[in-house]
Symmetry: C2
Subunit: 221 residues, 2 copies
Amino acid sequence: MTKVTIVEEIMSANDRLAEQNRALLDAHGVFAINVMASPGAGKTSLILRTITAVAPHLTLGVIEGDTAPVTIDADKVLAAGMPAVQINTGGSCHLDAAMLAKALPQLPLADLDLLVVENVGNLVCPAGFKLGAHANIVVASVPEGDDKPYKYPGIYRGIDALILNKTDLLPYVDFNIPYFRQGIELLNSEAAFFPLSCKTGEGFAAWIEWLLAKVGVMRDA
Amino acid sequence: MTKVTIVEEIMSANDRLAEQNRALLDAHGVFAINVMASPGAGKTSLILRTITAVAPHLTLGVIEGDTAPVTIDADKVLAAGMPAVQINTGGSCHLDAAMLAKALPQLPLADLDLLVVENVGNLVCPAGFKLGAHANIVVASVPEGDDKPYKYPGIYRGIDALILNKTDLLPYVDFNIPYFRQGIELLNSEAAFFPLSCKTGEGFAAWIEWLLAKVGVMRDA
């Protein structure tokens, strides 16, 4: 009983901070997305290709969540000419709203239209912690296998878009797209679905169109 | 300070239970391996192919850790003719020694030579919780990318063997094996390294030879 109470208090504190993050983002007209995935599904590749695609239309900043003090991903974003802040979680398996609250003031929020938050690579823990983002995205990938929605259901509930990356590997991997989608439908029939390849660019335009519409909707509101 | 104390107490309790698990396994002459990996790296494929390879030499049981009450992996093991027990972690991101302690009596330990424990697919959390296994194994996979040791260092420290699965995809993916191995060497220069493909069987014999030697060493001790 004590354990439950502690967890509830932590979650409640996190939710309050997430609301504050959202308010700060809204005050600056920044649309934020929280990008979650298994390690190696292609979050950083997605972000880098998204930067290139949206750069003519809007200004973008990136927050990189890492469990270790390496700046591999943040360096790639900086090299692409976009402001990036790294959050080192110190071994923790997910970002939380407090970490984001510390990182946000380090970005030029007044100049940004879109903020991309790359969560720690993990299909379990990030699902439990709201950050205050306007949209939650999961990047799945073909070589991970088509059974992941059945095995890791928590992460797919409540997300706004599901990207299936590495479709260029479909010829070399056993992956049943209808079985995968059926698993998602059972958990979340609302999420937009974008099969694509960050390597070849196939399918990427639909994702960018969706993203730009989302950002536009908020900016016009 | 309070938080640190609580975490230390949890870890200490886990370590004590892990020692009890080890003693129970030793009492029955069972060699146990804890198989950890990112979701979709191929833990279940490795286990199924390992069952086929070792079945002529020894008797094997499997414990499947899952975050959800699905029995996809356990069913595959049962279909392969081996005793399997599923641990549903109820959403938790890793197995711990207490979960294993509950599962062990459900297996015919007296009949087993080898116990394979498939941990929850996660490159962060399982590293922190000893189970009592005799060997800890990480299954990496080619499409995950060669930078994972740099980004998720915790899981590679202290492991006994590292498997690099899905080498059949090397022609289609940018994966620098020397860069990957260099990252591992910095963390753990002792781990045995087995590049292999569970799909084609390439490289599998070396892993089986290592595993049989490990089991043999303990049984003769």
